[in-house]
Assembly symmetry: C2
Homo-oligomer: 321 residues x 2
Amino acid sequence: MGEDALLARIAHRIGPARTGEVWAGDDAAVVASAASRILIATDLMVEGIDFDLSYVSGEDIGWKVVAVNVSDIAAMGGVPRSVVAGVALPPETKLSFVDGFLDGLVEAAAEWDVAVVGGDLSGGREIVAVVTVVGDTAEPPLLRSGARVGDGIFVTGTLGGSAGGLAALRAGFARTRPVVDLVARHLRPRARVVEAAALRRFGITAMIDISDGFALDLRRLMRASGTGCLVDPGRLAVDLALLEVADELQVDAHMLALHGGEDFELLFTMDRSAEEDARDALVAVGCGLAFVGEVTDGGRFLGDIDLDKEEGLGWDHLQDP
Amino acid sequence: MGEDALLARIAHRIGPARTGEVWAGDDAAVVASAASRILIATDLMVEGIDFDLSYVSGEDIGWKVVAVNVSDIAAMGGVPRSVVAGVALPPETKLSFVDGFLDGLVEAAAEWDVAVVGGDLSGGREIVAVVTVVGDTAEPPLLRSGARVGDGIFVTGTLGGSAGGLAALRAGFARTRPVVDLVARHLRPRARVVEAAALRRFGITAMIDISDGFALDLRRLMRASGTGCLVDPGRLAVDLALLEVADELQVDAHMLALHGGEDFELLFTMDRSAEEDARDALVAVGCGLAFVGEVTDGGRFLGDIDLDKEEGLGWDHLQDP
């Protein structure tokens, strides 16, 4: 199938544009915007590095590459609006893979009310998917750099599940409960858009989504803010399904919660006086909240770990997997 | 070099964000926007498909992947504002290549006053660069679909130079004049941003940038508009440097002008009464204009070629090179 035929197939799958907008089929996409601040997030997934086709489907990849970018927009306190995808496909790629990828992309976009407005295709030796999500925010964005000494440090939901799911996939575990929940956590991550919106009114001072591991992303936030921290790793909410099967999987659940990455929970700082109200607001949308420590003017400590003395925390996308 | 160190190097190269904006270093980029319509263009370049490192440098790739997206925004009549890049780099990639790529990216962005606001890195088996440019327009966008029966069909500048440059590179020609001009046309394409802006007031009805060959992009515009055309290929302005060296290069200059692609000239339709004023406006910014034919309610003809009966016109990104 040639490029124009495939692009027509994609345009058909995406559906017609909203009135006054232009999606696939012109030189660039045109979308309406009412906000004065545009947010742009981009993320790439590469076959053999970020996924392995022996246990990941086209649908999974399409879903995930949208979800991770939507999560980035959520972590800025923004609303995701539009998504474009650039995809390199080897000549031997099956049309069913392309259709599956599109299904996952469109499904994830619909989940967070994001319009798939365009893309680009090329050949290649391996599958590479690069997705850019454009969003906006009427209020000031929630940066990594706003933490204040004395703030509490909080994490939504649970950690370690995605890394547990990856371990189960690599070990070839049957996808029965509770493993199936871990696998879903890895392959079909949820972006905390609703949760971030629910938290805005409680005076969040800094926020990041946990994509490369709690420890690494904690260090990033504290460095961006120029602050220290005292975090109690025992307060992290470890994924319950992971705790259940950790022995069978031969993994250390607490290590995965600290360093596993790709849970896409929100790590944020705010005054502790707002804790109970924020927890109530999150519970109302089905999400838990853990207080894990305090922002200080000293060093950056995660239990016994001095974060500034550790090398190779978390996931480095340039290392071999 | 690890990911965070490389990202820090990139952030340093990009420089500080404009006041009130956030570029590299947070979950997503934040940019100001005053317009009500956002434009989004995305394009990928893949090693071995879109470029060959035996004759293309990192700088060339960085420049070109920005230019082609800026050209797409220009062809909508918009103003490019921000660019993000997602790049897959094999482990053996030299740091000098990465620095060169960044230099080219930053240089092209500066050329068209676009801010490099973010990106993402991963490993890979081959170099893949996906760039997304976000722009805006206060006026209605110039779509492919607006051509009206009776309109004139026009092309800016000259055609065939980029394909001639590629042929010279592949044949290993020395980069002396006039070959050096052709090579520059291929490796360092110019996006017609200023020219598109100069043309807006003359009542353009439809516009596309010529990325995949005049014949193919003419057919795309006419199909999008639901119109026919009678175009005289003899009226196309063939690149003068190409005409000069075509025999030596053993290429047919007119064929390259018709089908070569990547010249990034603007193909557009407007009432013929505006022709002289539009030509004057273009000459004032150093660009030529060719009237090449008319929009009709009949078939789609480029000289003897019935565009609707031709297969494989121009460049198909999914075919082997």
